[in-house]
């Protein structure tokens, strides 16, 4: 079981309130991603759940039991850190058995679990090495191994992939997702990368300045962002925002259209502008369009290769059912 509930949880460092009162329910077996820009309090929130920071107010329950005052060791959670935080003076085997030794588990069971974990994570050949002799990806696997041997109530990941190079990151992302499929244990994952959030999460929690902006499945957030912040944060490239007359025409203070929801044409369209930089990814092409009279730049995504060059005039038409409308307070208008 791994149900975690936060009720009215607040955190302040001195006079600085990092997290104003916040409520959150995490169901057993869910893969929850906390996402938001740097300094939004997502890591602090994770550390509050872990018990590495004390809450300034409110209550944290794990499986219905109050864990607010419990030390990290008593919460039954395992954490994977951004820096891996392996014990450099211990072999991989000792690193992975450390939580089991602390729990006073018998030697035979320790050995069985370490070998099982090493097998799952492809670490069998490295058990007698020191962390310093491993690559970044292997170190991250050791950190995950150390977390899974304990069979914790929930896993906490604090930006675990941000120290890896791009190719490795995609690989590890899949491994963590597969691990979740297999273990069906609650996982809470912190990242600033919305692609990680979209691809891995069952449920995304978007945070800004310690506040929860929206909670929902990746597609809910993508299709019906509750406010302008979420709309701009989820999705890549970023949603185009247009204010002024054009927005007023739609009965809103601001309208938002995702780059992939604009149809392009050489001859006609609702909006038009001049092509600036184009980014060719092969499968897609992104055009940064200027001089539209709507916003400084409008980004358009076209499938495959489309023949626009720098300086060409381009016409764009937003798909009518894909125009997001926001009021002057930034909230979505249905």
């Amino acid at each position: 079981m791994g149900r975690i509930a936060l009720r009215n949880v607040t955190k302040a460092f001195g006079d600085v309130v990092v997290i104003p009162p916040l409520d959150l329910e995490i169901e057993d077996g869910e893969f929850v991603v906390f996402v938001g820009p740097s300094g939004c309090g997502k890591s602090t929130l994770l550390r509050l759940i872990a018990g590495l920071e004390d809450v300034s107010g409110g209550q944290i329950t794990i499986d219905g039991e109050d864990a607010t005052g419990s030390p990290p060791a008593k919460r039954g959670l395992a954490m994977v850190f951004q820096s891996y935080a392996l014990y450099p003076h211990m072999s991989v085997r000792r690193n992975i058995t450390f939580p089991l030794r602390m729990a006073g588990m018998d030697k035979a069971e320790q050995k069985r679990r370490v070998e099982a974990a090493a097998d799952v994570l492809n670490l069998t050949d490295y058990l007698d090495r020191r962390p310093g002799q491993l690559s970044g990806g292997q170190r991250q696997r050791v950190a995950i191994g150390r977390a899974i041997v304990r069979e914790p109530t929930a896993f906490l990941f604090d930006e675990p992939l941000s120290n890896l190079d791009a190719a490795l990151r995609v690989g590890m992302r899949l491994e963590i997702s597969e691990l979740h499929e297999r273990l069906k244990t609650t996982m809470i994952y912190v990242t600033h990368d919305q692609v990680e959030a979209m691809t891995m999460a069952d449920k995304i929690v978007v945070l800004q300045a310690g506040r929860i902006e929206q909670v929902g499945s990746p597609l809910e957030l993508y299709r019906t962002p509750r406010n302008q912040f979420v709309a701009g944060f989820i999705g890549s490239p970023k949603m185009n925002f247009i204010t002024g007359e054009e927005a007023a025409r739609h009965g809103a203070a601001t309208i938002g259209v995702r780059p992939e929801h604009l149809d392009v044409s050489e001859t006609e369209g609702e909006w038009s502008g001049v092509v600036g930089v184009s980014e060719h990814l092969g499968s897609d092409t992104f055009f940064h369009v200027h001089d539209t009279g709507l916003a400084e730049t409008i980004t358009v995504r076209a499938s495959g290769e489309v023949g626009f060059r720098h300086g060409d005039r381009i016409h764009m038409t937003p798909r009518p059912d894909q125009v997001h409308r926001f009021g002057p307070d930034g909230l979505r208008i249905e």
Partner: protein
């Protein structure tokens, strides 16, 4: 950008460095040379530098007669020594090692708390601790002496170990604090998440990672405690008297005891010199730690 240094300036700098080195080392060298002279040669005017009759007589007299396997002092000695070097040596070892280890046991948790769970006043406490080192020791001689008399601690190992621990504790805490600060806090947090209690966290994770730092701290403090003379001379007479008392025993206003005094001094610094020689690297690392990253 690196600038090429001319040969001439290299030679000049090397010569100056050697000169300064020699100047610093000279008193010790002179003491060592004097220890091999007779009392008459020791005060000869003009002084004899090397051209004297080398003798081990002074070492025999002060009781420094170690059997070094390849060289046995006893073969050159006649008669009974005037003092028991070994007893003083043992007292020095007991006080220096005892106070350092006691200090480490107290300072590791203290430095851990200051480095990893700092409070609003941690910096102030650190500075205040250091400020106690600025107090002239003689300022607290009377109170400490009275406490020692009342508690019957004069001339005991225990009393001396406690005083020396208190004296060196600020330095031990400061050194360990600097080392601990270099250890990433996330690793200790990982230990906490892995179910380690505070004691286990310090014992299994922090201490093994800080071994080089702890070793340097121990070495430096053994040396400081070994050389400490003010308290050892004032609080001991016989039973707990360390090598500082052994040296002081040969410094007397009457009679010519320069050669014996030199032999006693050389015999007193010999063990710590050997220890220092073999641990130079560790010591230099300890003293410059944190200065360059």
């Amino acid at each position: 950008m690196a600038r090429a240094i001319s040969t001439r300036s290299k030679i000049t700098f090397t010569a100056v460095a050697w000169l300064i080195g020699l100047l610093i080392f000279f008193p010790i060298l002179w003491t060592m040379l004097t220890s091999f002279k007779t009392e008459a040669q020791a005060i000869a005017d003009p002084p004899v530098v090397f051209g004297f009759d080398w003798t081990l007589e002074n070492y025999c007299t002060v009781g420094f007669r170690p059997n070094l396997y390849f060289f046995d002092f006893n073969e050159f000695c006649e008669g009974a020594p005037r003092s028991e070097y070994m007893r003083f040596l043992w007292n020095s070892v007991a006080i220096a090692v005892g106070s350092t280890l006691l200090g480490i046991v107290i300072a590791v948790p203290a430095a851990w708390a200051m480095a990893f769970v700092p409070g609003r006043r941690t910096k102030d406490i650190l500075l205040w601790m250091l400020s106690t080192k600025m107090l002239p020791a003689v300022g607290v001689l009377y109170p400490i002496n009275l406490i020692f008399v009342e508690a019957d601690l004069l001339d005991t190992h225990f009393g001396l170990i406690v005083v020396m621990t208190l004296i060196n504790l600020p330095i031990i805490v400061w050194m360990l604090y600097t080392y601990f600060r270099e250890i990433p806090g996330e690793i200790l947090e990982a230990a906490r998440m892995d179910g380690a209690g505070m004691g286990q966290e310090i014992f299994y994770v922090l201490a093994p990672m800080a071994v080089p730092g702890i070793a340097s701290t121990i070495l430096l403090n053994i040396i400081l405690a070994w050389n400490e003379a003010f308290w050892t001379l004032n609080l001991t007479t016989f039973d707990a008297a360390p090598l500082t008392q052994f040296i002081a025993g040969y410094s007397s206003p009457e009679g010519n005891f320069f050669a014996k005094l030199s032999a006693a001094s050389t015999a007193a610094i010999a063990p710590i010199l050997v220890l220092g020689w073999f641990s130079q690297k560790q010591l230099v690392r300890g003293l410059t730690f944190g200065a360059v990253k």
